[in-house]
């Protein structure tokens, strides 16, 4: 029996969805920041790339629609993947992203392990922080979509809700955007790529596959389950080809570098803006 050294973690559709999220998220962050910082040099520079305040707004709105569309398509895809006959296992089993009691236990166990108490938890396919990242998008996008829609169509909104809810919508839209952007850049990018075991780049989301040897350390229970049930053979994957690897290294570093520049500039220029 030939031994499997690499297995698939993310399908092509998952990776395309993630890429679409990266692109729309970046576009929305940049155009949104241009609008928020419009009275600073940084904001003016950003807006000039998009042809000014008005066209940056139009691009922001279209990118928002695109992101929402991607979100809906993703939900439909997830629903097709569910096995309704054994829905309990499908929803709360190890392959599901729904948080269970196990995640809370693993979180506690892992925090203790940080301080050298006890052993590191043996994770299944999805760890608690991966689940958190996933569900953060699930309340982030609907909130940003609804408040964004209210602000695009204020007159129509005021027919269903009092006009002052637009004040609230603007506050929520900004606060949620600030939370999402700072979380993605500070936590998601930094921890994802700049740990000693993942440096220089965590390739999993781009290559789609992981080395079994590496994953046996990080997600021991998942690998154990796969070898027990014999699913390992089905998930066998080839390592990514060189040109593709080069491509995503360039792309990944472009995004990471712009992300760090973005957060630095946003913090520096925040002293010159007034949140009206």
């Amino acid at each position: 029996m030939n031994t499997v050294t690499r297995i698939t973690r993310f399908t092509v559709i998952d990776r395309i969805t993630h890429l679409g999220l990266i692109l729309t998220f970046s576009l929305l962050s940049i155009t949104g920041a241009g609008r928020l910082y419009f009275n600073t040099d940084w904001g003016t520079a950003i807006l000039s790339w998009f042809g000014g305040y008005t066209s940056a707004t139009i691009i922001h709105i279209w990118a928002g629609w695109l992101m929402t569309l991607g979100f809906i398509v993703h939900i439909l895809l997830v629903l097709t993947r569910l096995d309704w006959r054994s829905w309990k296992l499908s929803l709360f089993g190890p392959d599901s992203l729904i948080p269970t009691a196990r995640d809370f236990r693993e979180f506690g166990q892992r925090v203790l392990w940080f301080f050298g108490i006890g052993n590191a938890p043996k994770f299944e396919r999805w760890t608690y922080w991966e689940k958190f990242d996933y569900w953060a998008v699930f309340w982030g996008i609907p909130l940003l979509f609804i408040t964004g829609l209210m602000l695009i169509y204020p007159i129509e909104t005021s027919r269903f809700l009092p006009g002052w809810t637009l004040n609230i919508a603007l506050l929520l839209h900004r606060a949620e955007a600030i939370l999402a952007i700072s979380y993605i850049i500070v936590i998601h990018l930094l921890v994802g790529h700049f740990r000693r075991s993942t440096f220089p780049l965590n390739e999993t989301m781009f290559s789609g596959s992981v080395s079994v040897e590496e994953e046996a350390k990080e997600k021991a229970d998942w690998i154990e389950r796969l070898s027990k049930t014999g699913q390992m053979q089905q998930l066998k994957a080839e390592p990514p080809v060189t040109w593709y690897r080069r491509l995503y290294f360039v792309f990944g570093y472009a995004v990471i570098a712009s992300g760090f520049y973005f957060i630095g500039a946003a913090i520096y220029y925040s002293q010159f803006i007034v949140l009206h």
Partner: protein
């Protein structure tokens, strides 16, 4: 008998004919009665100015819990709120007395002036019955200048948004105040958990790999 019947019909016809110009030109004969400016002004301004399917829409007084209260200082029912201000003239900048009032989306982003909404002198208090800023017609006389189709509901948008985290906002605009702190605590909560978590993870990861000699 016949003659009086004819006369009755003729007089009826004349009355109907006389009513045609009256109906089409808005009671031209009656409006000549208007002798004072105040009366003409009230005729023009007592309408809310907003109609939906020929029915006049009056602002609804219904408010939801958490609605903003009147955030501006009560300016009273006076036709000229600046009547007691010494040396008041058009040369004084609005912001030299109304400090920070220009820090709002309309001024900063919409690039419009105070006077474009508040009007020329004399500026009436918002409670002055005939004031354009009176909430019964603000949407039509102020908002709809730019926002086509503005409704009384739309006009409840707080243009001079108070600082969301300010203690005073708790009573003047409770929903804004609580939304602000909800989001602030959410952001702080996320980072209080995940920032130390990430740092500790990073250190542990470093040490673990060092031990392994990787």
């Amino acid at each position: 008998m016949n003659g009086s019947h004819l006369m009755h019909n003729v007089s009826r016809l004349l009355l109907v004919l006389a009513m045609i110009p009256a109906c089409t030109s808005g009671w031209v004969f009656a409006s000549t009665d208007v002798t004072t400016d105040a009366r003409r002004y009230s005729l023009q301004e007592s309408s809310s100015g907003y109609y939906e399917d020929d029915i006049e829409v009056m602002p609804h007084k219904r408010t939801l819990p958490g609605s903003p209260a009147n955030t501006t200082k009560r300016t009273g029912r006076y036709a000229d709120v600046h009547r007691l201000v010494k040396d008041y003239s058009g040369k004084i900048r609005c912001t030299s007395c109304h400090v920070n009032k220009a820090d709002n989306l309309h001024t900063v982003r919409g690039n419009i002036t105070c006077r474009q909404c508040h009007g020329l002198d004399p500026i009436a208090g918002a409670d002055f019955y005939y004031a354009p800023m009176n909430s019964i017609r603000k949407h039509a006389y102020v908002c709809a200048k730019c926002h086509q189709g503005a409704t009384p509901s739309f006009a409840t948008f707080v243009v001079h948004t108070p600082a969301a985290g300010d203690a005073k906002t708790r009573s003047s605009f409770p929903t804004l105040y609580y939304s602000h702190y909800l989001m602030l605590f959410l952001i702080i909560g996320v980072f209080v958990v995940f920032l130390p978590h990430s740092i500790l993870w990073w250190i542990r990861d470093w040490l673990m790999n060092k031990r392994r000699g990787k």
